[in-house]
Amino acid sequence: MSKALSRRDVLVQGTVYGGSLWVLLNTPHPLTARAAQASSKPEVLSAAQWKTIEAITGRVIPTDHEPGALEANCVNFIDKALANEDAAAKPLYDAGVIGIDAVAKARFEKAFVALDAKQQDEVLTALESGEAEGWPHAEVPSQLFFETARAHTIMGFLADPKYGGNRDYAGWKVTGYPGGGHHLGGYSPDQMMAKDKIKTAWGEEA
């Protein structure tokens, strides 16, 4: 199993790239939700970039008997975030999409989207490790791209659907999260003891 990046690693490497992941993921501009509500068409990603990033998200949270990142439309979340709050990460994604295809070609002689799931996981594991043969960017660590895409995919899966991901509450359904408790009007003592069901944000009972 590959070792997860330490926060220190991410910061140090982020600084090498010219701005830490930490800072860019905390940039405060409440714009994504507005953009996501306005459009589910690509705002900043090209059609090819969209497909590659969509494929990455599909391996971070794969589809099984329940929906994964593809069904939750996590790539749309990322596109809207890159168009707004996380615009500083757009160059990282530009470099990352070129890089992941270069690694895929070095290993399997195909673009990343043309690989099967097992091959895609191998490429992502190589990126995660920082030892990806064929990675073309000396100044952009592959781990930084992987970790950013991983974190963004999870956000797209589990953030409020208004941000453009978590389509049809797919992420909350898989995770068994009913929605914000205050938004749902709070819980009764019997609901807290699971003697009564609770109403979910999508109108079912759980």
Binding site: Y163, T175, A194
Partner: protein, 551 residues
Amino acid sequence: MGKREEFDVCVIGTGAGGGVMIQELTAAGFRVVALQRGPFLKPADFHDDELRTMIRDEVFSSDQVETYRYDENSPTETGRFNYMANCVGGTMTHWAAWSWRFRPDEFKVLSTEGPVAGASLADWPVSYDEMEPYYERAEWEFGVSGDAAANPSGAPRKKGYPNAPHPGRVASDRIGKALRKLGHYPFPTPVAINSKPHGGRPECAYGGSCLGYGCPIGAKATTLSVCIPKALATGKLDLRANTTAREVTLNDRGQARSVLYLDGDGKEHEVFARHVVVSGNAVGTPHLLQMSASGRFPNGLGNSSGLVGHNLTLHHIAAVSFTIDELSRASSGLHSHVAFDDFHASDSKRGFIRGGVVAETNSAVNQPLMYALTTHMGCGERNWGSDFKKYLRRFPRSVGLAAVLEDLPMDVNRIDLDPQVKDGHGLPAPRITHRQHPNDFAMNRWFTKKMMDVADASGAIEKWDAEFYSLPNERSAMKGFMHFHGTCRMGDDPSKSVVDRWCRSHDVKNLWMVDGSVFPTSGGYNPTLTILANAYRVADHFVREAKRQNV
């Protein structure tokens, strides 16, 4: 600028320390001006939006810049390490509201333990007996709920809690039963959250999202919901939100004269006051004193001891998560419903000194994004792919335990001005230099093992060391930096402390520091009730002495 206006008191910071001072001083008729970084938020600004609140940090702290290094020889990182809220009400605004009294021995750690190598233990100049009436006052002002008779290891008390305990949830019920089976004494976690209407605020709706969030209905007591409204109602408070204090100036007699501050546009203003109360807590208070260095105090205002910024303590927080075979309902209710305190007493036979309290939590966080991004790491599983999806599915059956552990103060752990990094106003960022004492790690390991045993007794299916405080990518999840104390310690000896027993600077007689920075040692409990109680004690003294013309 119009004609010069002089206030009785300028309070810098409106959190637990400053908020109480503002409440008490305005009630006594003093004219107070309060400065606070960040906005004056209303309940409508608080909501369940996890991405906005916890990840993107758009509600609190948006202009915070700090640096961190392990020691003098380590590289410096820039980021946000101090889990605070920059808004009226301060960090209390997003607290989980756990409300403990320190035990009597926690005010006398040096006398209790004797000197310890590598640590700078000290006694508080005040005793539990002196604090007791002020704890009671704080509990009643803030509507703490609890069962006064249920914790045999807790501090002695004269009066019960103003609010009855809250109902439990599946998770706390499981843990409570397991603890009883193990021979422990579980009790309802005391929280400053209404179980019935109290103080003009409503009862809790059990919607979750206490830690890290503002309460949208005001059932959670904060200085924003308790102290500031009272102070504003007196007409004696001039509240200046969105301001950043940058220097306390002195007059030619060496007394505090004014405070220079920047407004939201970066424009500088000066406000004059007969007394200055600095309540920026353990980072903000020494930071302002250091920025206020002058010819008279070249190493920082009020720093003849050389101790301003030193002896920073952060607590060590151990956390274990596990799953049970039914819905835990941990997303509902409070951050914690049940606790036990039987491991609190110091016992060197355990391989460390000091101790702490253990409480059930909603698996560290009650919403899924923080769960997914932080809690996972100790599982030993991959944080993406099909294993990760299995981890996500555990969420509704997950339960948490956390221990708040007293860390030992060390002189080398400190706040100073970063020589390079500046904030958005061009002010030097506070630099945190911090590492843990070996005692802290030994205590953390022991408590983690004990919490694993409680998990087993609770019927754990999967269990893991949540490592909540040492993970990448989460602002709240960094190296235990949730509770900040020390850096302007309180003491009787001016060569060994920054403020006296009344939290008044030894060097500058009209300068007061009222917050967690004055804690000589950190205690094995969340600090806020002690900050509140201490502030009521100091305010009482201030008002009494002012009437005698002694301040």
